[in-house]
């Protein structure tokens, strides 16, 4: 079955990104397809390449990147939510005249339409938030 996943909270502050990750992994293990993982609200912070957790903790950002690489996942960060919170890819940083970008590998920034599309194309949409 085709699932869409929405993540509404950032890493570490709330468990929602962890839960979404565990759910996504379990769904993939059961042979389901993940149409898209959409990061909204503070969830956009799951894509920050500047994240440095303590060494004995899980690396939430890298973990998403690795899962995306392994399963060819579409990890989409909402552009409006991202720009509010200082999350930019290289192209957008250049366009906005900013001197840095911070989008981690495996994520892409796109519009809210991608969330609606995930709702339309997926057979189930599961929301993780606070």
């Amino acid at each position: 079955m085709k699932f869409g996943i929405q993540v509404n909270e950032g890493p570490y502050q709330h468990q929602s990104s962890d839960s979404a990750y565990q759910f996504t992994k379990a769904a993939l293990e059961k042979g389901h397809e993940i149409f898209r993982v959409f990061f909204y609200h503070d969830g956009v912070n799951n894509a920050s390449s500047l994240t440095i957790p303590p060494q004995d903790d899980r690396h939430i950002v890298d973990r998403w990147t690795a899962l995306a690489k392994e399963h060819n996942l579409d990890l989409v960060v909402c552009i409006a939510a991202a720009q509010r919170r200082g999350m930019l890819d290289e192209k957008e940083a250049k366009r906005q005249g900013k001197n840095a970008s911070n989008l981690a590998e495996g994520f892409r920034i796109s519009g809210l339409g991608q969330l609606i599309e995930a709702g339309i194309q997926s057979e189930r949409l599961v929301v993780f938030g606070d």
């Binding site: 509404n8 939510a81 709702g119 339309i120």
Partner: protein
């Protein structure tokens, strides 16, 4: 993309008050973008979500954008099924007169102006939830 004709029932479920957190505003942004997709859209306001529709919001003193006028524009986006939970209203001592007057023009009825908000019992809202294909919670 290839199944552009698929029409699903989308419910936006709002349970949080405005301003104290960004959920109400960013939920509204999804609704506006989603309106372009020609899906069957409903909005439900329950629990503290009903406070989003309170009239007379004035944010000058807190320095935040007053986005309440955007709800009035929903009718122009063909978003006109707005359901408010009666129990949540009663619990908070609110009546329909405390809410913004949201309307739309009914193109099937000579563009007559009609109210978008219905105050429904929990039983009716439950039945509505059950009909949905996609429920976006904020």
């Amino acid at each position: 993309m290839e199944d552009e004709e698929v029409i699903k029932k989308f419910l936006y479920l709002n349970r949080k008050a405005p301003y104290g957190s960004i959920y109400a505003l960013e939920s509204l942004e999804v609704v506006l973008i989603g309106a372009a997709f020609d899906q069957n859209v409903s909005l439900a306001f329950i629990d503290d979500g009903v406070y989003q529709l309170k009239k007379d919001q004035s944010t000058d003193g807190i320095g935040m954008k007053n986005f309440s006028s955007t709800y009035r524009a929903l009718g122009d986006y063909d978003v006109n099924k707005i359901y408010v939970d009666k129990d949540s209203m009663d619990e908070r001592g609110l009546t329909i007169d405390d809410l913004m007057n949201l309307t739309y023009e009914d193109e099937d009825d000579d563009y007559a102006e009609k109210p978008s908000i219905s105050i429904l019992t929990s039983e009716k809202i439950s039945a509505l939830m059950e009909e949905q294909d996609v429920i976006l919670s904020f």
